[in-house]
Amino acid sequence: MTNLIYDGTFEGLLTAVFDVYAHKLGIVKLHQGEYIDGALFDKKLQVITDETRANRVLKTLKVKLSSMGVQRLYAAHLAEIPGEDNNLLGFIRYAIDSDENIEEDYGNKYVMRVSEMVCKIRRERHRMEAFIRFQKLQDGSFYAGIEPDFNVLPLLIRHFKNRYADMKWMIYDLRRKYGIYYDLHDTEFIILDFANNGRPADVVAAYTEDEGIYQHLWKNYFNSVNIASRKNTKLHVRHIPKRYWKHLTEKI
């Protein structure tokens, strides 16, 4: 078995695939991180991310998979779900080694696993589309802080850009410390410098005048649509797991 160490990028992953075929490697194990000489594994190889090689692999994948299939693979890697590198590698190798498109071969463990990952990511993306709560700031723009389980912020851009085309907004991933900002024309990635402990403490201070009123109205609305005689806490928590509550206006 050979241990492959790569830098965690998608190009890095594709370069690793290139190396697997170039060196005719059989069983491999993929790790993310820095290559440290000598230590830990007996047989190991450093993957040096290389755009040309990565592109050659990508080109092959585009032949072997549908364009949706390639996108799904990309999203699965982007999400940074821990411990899945080897499944992604297994999927890619299976796709390349097969003569026909294997995307729907759910009997295969890698195909099934990637489909499960895509499901998880899609669910997290949907949750964000649902649970993001914008707050209106004095300059007329809208701000939302999020802490998703996976790195799904880039997957949210299209939805929010289509929907809130006529207002400036920002969504900030507080855990991964970056955000997207829409300025009425385009979106860009940004990194904010929150003075201490990474929380936008001054957001409340920056509220526009009626922000508090609408938050209050929304909480009221949320309470009055409840039908007490049908209470079902288990179902409620299954739909909105507690970890999302701290950014939900109606649950704060």
Partner: protein, 418 residues
């Protein structure tokens, strides 16, 4: 803005609207136009109430003043409650401000009937028109059609709203007569018929000219109240089927009657909400719409009630053991869909995956089949399969013994009442 006054109105008028269970905001295709605000397509639940229902729309009444006296309704004329009314502008402002904060997908506006049908309908239409034309709002709008409103107003409503609905409320005409003496069945059916034709006509036009205006792109729906009158499930589902077929409804909603009023025509105030029955009706409805079941396969004269302890698909299967076992590696999709424990997604996955090789139990499990249920009804690429010649009843007992139904508790409390 007088925040206290608005808060008070919102509390009253949201509270009065909450018994309408429809929450869907999907099925429309409205895009964001000219860099306006919003779009309506995917139907997101932005929150969930503590009873576990989806909160997707700002669901309110324009007013709870009403000239009618329907027995099952909190807003009925003779009920001594606080009354309130929003202005058109207040509803518009609330909708826009909630929408911008990503609280909602749009607005579901209904109303008590003040003065007369047209007067009321005209106000509802004005809210929608203002949102669309003045605020360039492309979010979802569901308007209640007031029974007896004129065709001209219904037409205008269709041009601005994504969905329209008339609530039948009672599953049969007799039930309606008993509990809503002011309402005529005819008045309720008429706007549905008008809308059905208008929707068909606009869809045809849209095929010819891309620029033709949209007309209620998310179609029509209705709601029936369950358990306020003595109709059985056979009557309820057949009448739902009738409306699906004849009025091309997108959805029929079933709302378990919540006892809110003392009235000799109604179940007593301490009666519990028939939640299990409501759930079974939704499951049955689902089977009719997505699983290719005909209504009379689910309920009929000799089987007038849905089982409360098992779901209608399992119930059908054990009544039709001669159709099983099904070989999942060969059977067509239609039959696989009928297997208890296999959902639409799993069924499609099975049909795709088996082209690459025959599937075994492990793979079925991974695909998402609930093998605990399905094992009594299928064979696959494995030597293991159910060899005992079990009766439907025995299977039911096995499945009930191994599943921890969230409803068992409820079934018991409901049964205790009898």
């Amino acid at each position: 803005m007088d925040a206290d006054r608005i808060t008070e109105k919102l509390n009253i008028l949201a509270d009065a609207a909450k018994y309408d269970v429809s929450c869907a905001s999907s099925g429309s295709k409205r895009k964001n136009e000219n860099k306006g605000l919003g779009n309506a397509s995917n139907g997101i639940c932005h929150s969930y109430t503590e009873d576990g229902r989806c909160v997707s729309l700002l669901k309110i009444l324009l007013t709870n003043h009403c000239i009618f006296d329907c027995a099952y309704c909190v807003s009925r004329k003779s009920n001594d409650i606080q009354r309130a009314a929003f202005t058109v502008q207040e509803v518009v402002d609330l909708t826009i401000n909630f929408y911008r904060r990503n609280y909602i997908e749009g607005l579901f506006l209904s109303s008590g009937i003040f003065k007369d049908a047209d007067f009321t309908m005209e106000r509802l239409v004005r809210v929608a028109k203002k949102l669309r034309l003045e605020h360039n709002f492309n979010g979802y709008i569901h308007l209640k059609s007031i029974p007896g409103a004129s065709d001209e107003l219904m037409n205008e409503a269709g041009l601005y709203a994504d969905r329209l609905s008339v609530n039948l409320e009672m599953p049969t005409e007799a039930g309606l007569k008993l509990l809503a003496p002011d309402k005529s069945h005819q008045d309720m059916i008429k706007p549905m018929g008008y809308l059905k034709n208008a929707i068909i006509q606009h869809t045809e036009e849209k095929k010819l000219f891309k620029k033709a205006p949209m007309f209620a792109p998310a179609g029509q729906s209705t709601q029936v109240i369950i358990g306020a009158t003595p109709e059985d499930d056979n009557q309820i589902l057949h009448s739902a089927n009738y409306f699906y077929k004849n009025f091309k409804l997108r959805r029929v909603y079933y709302s378990g009657y919540v006892p809110v009023l003392e009235d000799s025509r109604l179940p007593a105030l301490n009666t519990s909400v028939p939640m299990v029955r409501e759930n079974r009706l939704y499951q049955a409805d689902w089977l009719m719409r997505n699983y290719g079941f005909h209504v009379s396969e689910i309920v009929n004269n000799s089987q007038p009630h849905l089982d409360l302890d098992i779901d209608p698909k399992l119930s059908w299967a054990i009544r039709n053991m001669h159709e099983f076992p099904v070989d999942v590696n060969r059977a067509d999709l239609k039959m696989i869909l009928r297997v208890p424990g296999i959902g639409v997604l799993s069924a499609q996955k099975i049909v795709s995956a088996r082209k690459f090789g025959k599937l075994n139990w492990d793979q079925l499990k991974k695909i998402g089949v609930s093998v605990n249920r399905a094992r009594y009804f299928i064979t696959c690429h494995s030597k293991e399969f159910e060899r005992r010649d079990l009766t439907g009843n025995a299977i039911k007992q096995f499945i009930l013994a191994t599943s921890h139904s969230k409803y068992i508790k409820n079934v018991q409390t409901q049964l205790n009442l009898f």
